[in-house]
């Protein structure tokens, strides 16, 4: 299958890229970066470092540096100032292929109409900017999976809003209004099916490869945030499970096709509004309500087993943790 990934690479985005780039059944045709977890330049560097780690040659283009109408507020408190917990990520000769990521999204949709699956892992700014130029752009993608939102109303950046939607609610609204049937993998799925607790962390470490070490090292700051703020038994991987579901939709155990809107007001910024009344507008989003945790963990373990290390990643030194 052919994937296009739009990412604000931070630490869990990097693991998501690994799941796609390390899967022999998947061809990643394009990666675009967007400001979100971290400013655009860091998102791009982190994506390039991960592409190098995986020995991939996928084109990487940067896109929008700020939300479509607002100023940028990052999640560097969640992922670390560099977005990667300060890990010594590969610094490579790899350079971004261009800064016109929005145009590239439109172009690739025209090159492979009906063939591509789009996975968005950050704020929807690039997609919204592309839609404002070309309203049919999303319709040329086969499927669109978004790591976005908290459909049951449990937020991480505010009590009721998930970061990717909160960061740029206007862009999310533009995407909701595009007319394309969208698939939402919200933060609820990450909490239910993608938490890496002590047992899973030990399992990943025990694999002993550079990839395995990278997964743990770059998410160290996220783990602290999950312990202190979001109250999870470990650190959760929202972006990776979104990519895993896009690659293997049979992981979805339960979903619901709903009519969804989003609040752009200050008080309820980024809060999702699901309308289940008879009078609701036409449904626009397949909300994933349950996903298979074991299938996700297996796909993560699987990608970590490859012992190649083309970018010579040096795992962080740890003091008897």
């Amino acid at each position: 299958m052919k994937l296009v990934i739009d990412t604000d690479t931070g630490s869990d985005d990097a693991v998501a890229l690994m799941l796609a780039l390390g899967n022999p059944k998947v061809s990643v045709e394009l990666i675009t970066t967007v400001a979100g977890n971290v400013p655009l330049n860091l998102a791009t560097e982190n994506a390039l470092a991960t592409v190098a780690l995986m020995g991939s040659k996928v084109p990487v283009y940067s896109g929008m540096a700020k939300p479509i109408t607002r100023e940028l507020h990052t999640a560097q408190n969640v992922h670390g100032p560099d977005g990667m917990s300060g890990a010594q990520i590969p610094r490579t000769h790899l350079k971004v292929d261009g800064t016109d990521g929005v145009t590239q999204l439109i172009e690739i949709s025209k090159k492979f109409p009906g063939e591509l699956t789009l996975v968005t892992l950050g704020p929807l700014t690039n997609i919204a900017a592309a839609l404002l130029q070309d309203p049919q752009m999303l319709h040329r993608f086969k499927d669109v999976y978004m790591m976005a939102g908290s459909p049951e109303g449990w937020g991480n950046v505010t009590p009721s809003a998930e970061f990717n939607v909160w960061c740029d609610p206007e862009s999310f609204k533009i995407v909701l209004n595009s007319g394309k049937r969208l698939i939402m993998v919200g933060w609820n799925i990450s909490r239910d099916a993608a938490v890496i607790g002590a047992e899973e962390e030990a399992k990943i470490r025990a694999i002993g490869t550079a990839r395995a070490a990278y997964v743990i090292d770059i998410n160290e700051t996220l783990a602290i945030f999950c312990r202190d703020i979001t109250n999870l038994p470990g650190f959760d991987l929202p972006d990776p499970i979104t990519v895993a579901i896009a690659i293997a939709p049979e992981m979805i155990r339960k979903s619901e096709f709903v009519s969804m809107d989003v609040s752009c007001s200050e008080e309820m910024r980024g809060t999702l509004i699901i309308d289940r009344r008879h009078t609701a507008p036409a449904p626009n989003v397949d909300v994933v309500w349950e996903a298979d945790r074991d299938m996700f963990l297996n796909s993560l373990y699987e990608v970590c087993k490859d012992s190649s290390n083309p970018a010579n990643y040096i795992p962080a030194q740890r003091s008897g943790k």
Partner: protein, 311 residues
């Protein structure tokens, strides 16, 4: 004479058509290109109109089609004012050259990048393209001298009681423009409602007796009728050309440099410009707001441009 390089982003539209003539036929302005945006009519119609006005007045500049929708959601054409074609009232010649193949936002970026001098962006429609340009090409912001827009009001509105049409169509776009911290001039209804096409002006237009002046007279007669029907204004206001006129001669309007914010929520007032004339909020001044017009100065330059365009 030193010319001010501008890009005109418009939605022609009767008054936009006059703005195009003023931009192309005044020696103080260098018109680098024209981009279009949905507003007075939907995007296909206003783009066609821009090309037809160029054909009528023998203007040859790059023209590209821009955004068809506001940042948030669909647009509603002002056909009650501008008619079905968005430029009803007189036949216009077929286009004589083709549209640029790139999007309007990308044409703005291309022209700004190519210009050896800082460029002024003039918006006479909803500010969607200008906002997208600022967001998509932040590295080019330092090459922008000034943004002048026709829109907003320090008093009442025209699309809703307190919101002017261009801003009401895309309030988020004005929010982006205001946040840019570039020099901004607002040509709101306060001043455009002084640029009336009076009987004397109609007489002068008709006396020119050129192809261009005849066409413009026909268009303005239509505009006068809808303005009288909808707003009970017997002499219609020629809004958009003022956004060009202030660049030709800054003394054509009297302005105040004050704080302007845009109402994005509002139970009844979404899209209203909140103009703090007396600095009651203590917020920092950010927009040069035109409030008074030198009627004769404006019409002299406008009529001169229509005259030159017809020769």
């Amino acid at each position: 004479m030193k010319k001010t390089p501008i890009i005109l982003d418009c939605d022609p539209g009767h008054d936009d058509a006059m703005a195009i003539l003023l931009a192309a036929y005044n020696p103080a302005i260098e018109l680098l290109g024209i981009t279009t945006v949905s507003g007075n009519g939907i995007i296909d119609k206003v783009t066609e109109n821009a090309l037809r006005v160029c054909a009528l007045a023998k203007i040859q500049v790059p023209v590209a089609q821009g955004a068809g929708n506001a940042i948030l959601g669909a647009v509603e054409a002002a056909s009650d004012i501008h008619g079905e074609t968005a430029l009803d009232g007189a036949p216009l010649p077929a286009p004589t050259f083709a549209l640029e193949s790139i999007h309007g936002v990308d044409l703005i970026a291309q022209l700004v990048r190519k210009s050896s001098e800082k460029v002024t962006l003039v918006g006479t429609g909803p500010l969607t393209n200008i906002a997208l340009f600022l967001k998509m090409y932040p590295e080019l912001k330092s090459n922008i001298a000034h943004i002048v827009f026709m829109g907003g009001s320090a008093s009442r509105g025209n699309r809703t009681p307190y919101a002017e049409f261009n801003i009401w169509m895309d309030p988020e776009a004005l929010e982006v423009v205001l946040k840019s911290e570039l020099p901004i001039t607002m040509i709101g209804l306060d001043v455009t409602h002084q640029a009336l096409i009076t009987k004397e002006i109609f007489d002068k237009l008709e006396a020119m007796n050129t192809e261009v002046s005849k066409t413009m007279t026909g268009l303005m007669r239509f505009f006068a009728k809808t303005y009288n029907d909808v707003f009970e204004m017997p002499d219609p206001p020629l809004h958009d050309p003022l956004a060009i006129a202030v660049l030709i001669d800054p003394t054509v309007t009297k302005n105040r440099f004050v704080n302007v914010e845009i109402e994005l929520n509002g139970t009844h007032t979404r899209g209203a410009t909140v103009v703090d004339i007396y600095n009651r909020t203590g917020r920092k001044a950010n927009v040069n707001v035109a409030l008074e017009l030198d009627f004769d100065k404006f019409w002299n330059m406008m009529l001169d441009a229509v005259d030159k365009a017809g020769r």
